[in-house]
């Protein structure tokens, strides 16, 4: 690409960035803070309640995670999770609820292409990268930890 064209493109992109509407960062952050916080509070209350029934903390938190995953999957299935996320944003995408949604939504979507090449192949199309790089990072950090200690 010629330099002149390059400069023209830069100028145009600079102009576009100036006129383009910006995401509402502050109100999005506030909404995410409160919805994310609400999920955590619900999780905490559930955990304490389960513990009060006589289970230890580790088992109780596993059950809480299962409940949160199930709720997100159920709401995805009902078709309302994406509507809630439109409001909540990172408040529901960052917790385990977002991960659950990113697996159930392709499962629903690609069912039409069949059980094997649709659901089977596409199930992890959104969550896959998170798993691959999450596992990779944990292995590297594990090696570093082993060397240090």
């Amino acid at each position: 690409m010629s330099q002149k064209k390059n400069r023209m493109n830069q100028k145009y992109n600079y102009y576009v960035n100036n006129v383009a509407p910006k995401p509402k960062y502050i109100s999005n952050c506030i909404k995410a803070f409160f919805t994310g916080g609400t999920v955590c509070i619900i999780g905490f209350i559930l955990q304490k309640w389960i513990q009060s029934k006589g289970l230890d903390q580790k088992t109780a938190s596993s059950i809480v995670i299962m409940i949160l995953i199930f709720s997100a999957q159920f709401l995805t299935g009902l078709g309302v999770f994406d509507d809630i996320v439109k409001f909540a944003g990172a408040g529901l995408i960052v917790p385990i609820t977002g991960f659950a949604n990113s697996i159930v939504s392709p499962a629903m979507e690609y069912k039409k292409e069949g059980i094997v090449l649709g659901v089977g192949a596409k199930l992890f199309s959104l969550a896959g990268p998170v798993l691959v790089w999450g596992f990779s990072a944990s292995v590297i950090i594990g090696i570093i930890y082993a060397i240090i200690t």
């Binding site: 023209m8 576009v16 006129v19 383009a20 509407p21 994406d82 809630i84 996320v85 939504s105 629903m108």
Partner: protein, 336 residues
């Protein structure tokens, strides 16, 4: 010798093809928008009792074509060619529609510019004496586009404010060498213009320079000025793209303020319908032209219209490879 070509990119039709029939179908969301009273048919359910979204889109396109034929009392056998396309890989909706209709078919891909691309070529076929009746039709569907270009429908995410909403809609036009209706006097074929925008969520900005390029060349080729037209209508630039196109045209010395609008802006109430910058997709300019503009021309409310459907020629692969988004716009001048 190219006797019908004028200037750089424009063709003038000495025997202007007539648009003898138009039909538009839109989805439920479009049917709640500001243009709801203009569309010929509003779907209650965008699945139309089909098993897949793709089948639904194809059915919608087929219904629009069949209804446009019925409007002018023609049958598929009367039609020489069908020029059609959509947004899906390998033109799934258009190809399956053509299979069921049995009309000789040319599949076109111009992304969201397909309405004017098909209209341009259809006009040339008729004016060139190759055909008496040609159908130009196109469609897009929110759910098929979303699953091909973006995320599964139920995936939770927040779209940036520059994003647009793919219109579920279809429009079909029957062009004829003889008959009554608005005539296509000129077409200006567009060049691919790329100003280096890489954000697939900001297609208005990517396509606006292409629209401006085509409109400016149309004026210089034909010697017309913005005053000649009652309406200059771009396809789906959305609010941001419309603003940019207006700015760029003013910079080039064309004052279009009073006559310029954009189908993507017209079709939705972006605040109440949560469509961010407005509508997009082949079905956007198709349904707005076939629904609103064609009828207003028949009522003589509008006499000269320049329709400039705009397309973003990106693919999921080009986006992933970090390529910028090439834009294209074809202009069709319609008069009555």
């Amino acid at each position: 010798m190219a006797v019908k070509k004028m200037g750089q990119q424009t063709i003038r039709f000495p025997l202007p093809p007539k648009i003898i029939s138009a039909y538009s179908i839109v989805g439920p969301k479009e049917g709640e928008g500001p243009l709801k009273d203009w569309f010929d048919e509003i779907l209650e359910d965008d699945m139309i009792k089909e098993k897949t979204w793709e089948k639904a889109e194809s059915k919608m396109l087929r219904s629009a074509i069949n209804a446009s034929l019925k409007n002018c009392q023609k049958t598929p056998e009367d039609i020489d060619f069908l020029l059609s396309g959509d947004l899906l890989n390998q033109l799934m909706s258009a190809s399956y529609t053509a299979r069921d209709l049995g009309i000789p078919f040319y599949g076109l891909y111009g992304a969201c510019s397909t309405m004017t691309e098909s209209l341009s070529l259809a006009s040339m076929l008729i004016d060139g004496g190759f055909a008496d009746h040609v159908i130009a039709a196109t469609s897009s569907h929110f759910s098929t586009a979303e699953r091909q270009y973006r995320f599964p429908l139920e995936h939770g995410n927040q779209k940036p404010p520059t994003a647009q909403w793919t219109v579920t809609g279809s429009g079909a036009l029957v062009l004829a060498s003889q008959g009554a209706g608005p005539v296509i006097t000129h077409i200006t074929a567009g060049k691919v213009v790329d100003f280096g925008v890489t954000d697939a969520n900001n297609m208005g900005a990517a396509m606006a320079p292409a629209a401006v390029d085509t409109i400016a060349i149309h004026f210089s080729d034909t010697g017309r000025s913005p005053d000649f037209y009652d309406l200059i209508l771009t396809g789906d630039l959305g609010q941001l793209g419309k603003q940019i196109a207006k700015d760029l045209l003013t910079e080039k010395g064309f004052n279009v303020e009073s006559v310029y609008n954009d189908c993507g802006v017209m079709i939705f109430d972006s605040i109440n319908q949560d469509t961010h910058c407005g509508g997009s997709g082949c079905g956007c300019s198709a349904s707005v032209f076939c629904g609103n503009i064609y009828k207003r021309m028949m009522k003589k409310e509008l006499k000269n219209v320049l329709l400039v459907s705009t397309g973003a020629l990106l693919s999921t692969i080009s986006t992933q490879q970090g390529e910028s988004i090439p834009g294209i716009a074809h202009a069709v001048a319609v008069s009555i």
